[in-house]
Amino acid sequence: MRVIRALSAALLTVGVAAGPAAADASPSPSQDGSSAPTQAGTSFRTATEIEQGQRATASGSTGDYLYWSFPADTGQRPTVRATVKLPETHAAQTWQIVVYDGLRRRQACQYGAQTRTAAADASSVELACVLRTVRAWSEPWANDPLPGTYYIRVTPVGVATADLGLPVGTEVRADSEDVGGSAAVDGSLAEPLVPGIASKPEEEQQDAAVLAGLEPEDGWTSGWWSDRWVWTAVGGILAALAGVGGYALTRGTGRPSRVPPAA
């Protein structure tokens, strides 16, 4: 456990150390390396990448399809929240948030207001989607969430023509709860479900375009660790102790009384 803790501490330090380094290395005018993105993509291909826990904002127009993507790893149960600030005057509007996995398959929300209608005078509308727990592996015929990239799409689905094109502000955030070993399954994917992972350029280039490049903060888990190891090991130790106890019970204390001392 200590090794793991030390390792994660080291990785955390790396993350902190690499943040400012990234900001230094990329003097690009449109993007600020360390702060949250202020833009959104308009298709799967151009989706803006965000980290979990980052509050990404974007200004758009009513009628836009806004896309973001974030990485989610085994054992996490992501929750995606979006807030749309509506223009001052507008008719009633229905907004929707949809989450897709790395294979662009629509992922079901367990709960959360995925679609919501804002009344004519509402100033904002809040959407949420709680996904299922990300599993390390599932059968190819299943639609279970797998580790990899997840896409968020925020869009109005019901809007009056007069409202088309009016400016709106959107804010999204993806967080996740660590579900732990109860969701640990056997097997793992050879590569996370990151689109374009097979056609990534060999040598990493700063501004080479990739479909999705972000990884979780401390890299993709290898999938072998879960708290099931601890449970099973503790169970084994307890079983051994119980065994000793049981054995001792049958022996009583000291020598059997009917054995003569001189034997």
């Binding site: 380094a21 005018p29 398959r105 190819p140 049981g246 049958t250």
Partner: protein
């Protein structure tokens, strides 16, 4: 303890340096060519007579547009090749035929000379008709060549006055011709009709439509669109699917684009070796008015026609794309020279055009193919067959206890037997 701390911090520093080096080795490489051509943007500005109206922050629409253009020209990123085209700038007369041909290249698409471009913009005066369709066609010609991303930003204050050429259909044709071309539209103080037309043009190409009432909104939006053009994106490769598996083109890992007409089925082929996993996802775009209720089906079939796995998606109502995906891990083979299996990807969709909407060209289709190494296998539901929970502990303790008891009794019995002998 001190040694350990020092060691740990040393490891941390080393790791940090390594990761920083790995992740961002290209601090120096920023700005170097990335093998992709420069992104091109063509700003198409409506200079029709109606631009004289003084309803944007108290100044005329033309003045607002000019000021916005000046600010945009200052903020344009170095790598973007920017051009400006006008519509309705030159012909003040009443002849519709001539008026509808009135579109001119004000500044050619190419490396930007800010002063020159600004001088050109300053000369504009609101004049003529609003030939949006012809202007879009010409703008598409301006952007021809190169494989970088291409974007047309159309700024207009009135709907097209040159029927029957529907600018919406023109936009669709342009998008079908050029790869990676997007048209974004901005309406200056728009009417409902203009909103509908401009958002139709935008949706036909996967662009955005914005209505503008203030000058700073105009500047911000055009800046945002130009910046968006500068962001590096993966450009898809055109592919042409066949109507049957045997004639299908063979694809490798990558991003592809195609067009699929209503009621059509498209086939593509991917070779998968034993021990590899095929991942495919497909998005079919709704670039025109379609009826509510639609679906997309992606199937992986063998060359003999047996279906291996499928991905399906269905939806209703307003959408830009409908997408689905599948993965097919092929089991490893003992035979090292086992041949690759030709897997056919069959794509079909159930969009139906709304009444009065042209059905050609087909709907845009985007296909992502990834062939990765090593298939996955799982022998147990739980990780490595390990257990978890209080029930497990209870069972293990009970089993251990019973085993201890039995062992104890056995050894007592053995001692007793030995004694009696």
């Amino acid at each position: 303890m001190i040694t350990r701390t020092r060691l740990a911090s040393g490891v941390c520093a080393l790791l940090a340096a390594l990761t920083a080096g790995l992740a961002f080795p290209a601090g120096a490489a920023a700005g170097e060519p990335t093998g992709q051509d420069a992104p091109k943007v063509d700003l198409v500005l409506d200079v029709s007579g109606s631009m004289r109206a003084r309803d944007i922050d108290g100044q005329s629409r033309m003045a607002a547009a000019k000021q916005a253009f000046n600010e945009v020209l200052d903020a344009t990123p170095e790598e973007v090749e920017l051009g400006i085209r006008t519509l309705g700038a030159d012909y003040p007369g009443n002849d519709r035929k001539t008026g509808c041909k009135d579109t001119a290249r004000l500044y050619p698409v190419g490396p930007l000379d800010r002063t020159e471009a600004k001088t050109a913009v300053a000369t504009l005066t609101p004049t003529g008709w609003t030939p949006i369709g012809p202007a879009l066609l010409k703008a598409a010609d301006d952007l021809e060549g190169g494989d970088g991303s291409k974007r047309i930003v159309l700024i207009s204050d009135g709907e097209d006055t040159c029927a029957p050429l529907d600018p919406c259909e023109v936009a669709r044709e342009i998008a079908a011709k050029g790869i990676g071309l997007t048209i974004d539209t901005l309406g200056l103080v728009p009417t409902a009709k203009l909103s509908r037309q401009l958002s139709c043009i935008a949706e036909a190409t996967g662009g955005t439509y914005t209505s503008v009432e203030h000058q700073d909104e105009l500047t911000d939006k055009v800046n945002q669109l130009v910046d968006r053009a500068a962001d590096p994106v993966v450009t898809p490769v055109p592919a042409e699917g066949a109507d049957r598996c045997s004639a299908a083109p063979t694809l490798k890992s990558g991003l592809y684009t195609d067009r699929e007409e209503f009621g059509q089925q498209r086939f593509y082929r991917v070779d998968v070796r034993p021990g590899q996993e095929l991942r495919a996802s497909v998005s079919v775009g709704a670039d025109r008015a379609v009826n509510p209720g639609h679906g997309v089906l992606l199937r992986a079939v063998t060359s003999k026609g047996r279906e291996i796995v499928r991905g399906e998606a269905a939806g209703t109502g307003r959408t830009d794309v409908l997408s689905t995906g599948l993965r097919y891990p092929k089991a490893d083979s003992d035979d090292e020279d086992a041949p690759a299996e030709a897997v056919c990807l069959a794509v079909s969709h159930s969009f139906s055009p709304a009444s009065g909407v042209k059905t050609t060209p087909g709907l845009p289709l985007e296909l992502t193919v990834d062939v990765v190494d090593a298939p996955d296998q799982a022998g147990d539901v739980a990780a490595f067959g390990l257990g978890r929970g209080w029930w497990l502990l209870g069972v293990l303790i009970l089993a251990g206890f019973l085993a201890g008891l039995v062992w104890g009794w056995l050894s007592r019995w053995r001692v007793a037997v030995w004694r009696t002998n």
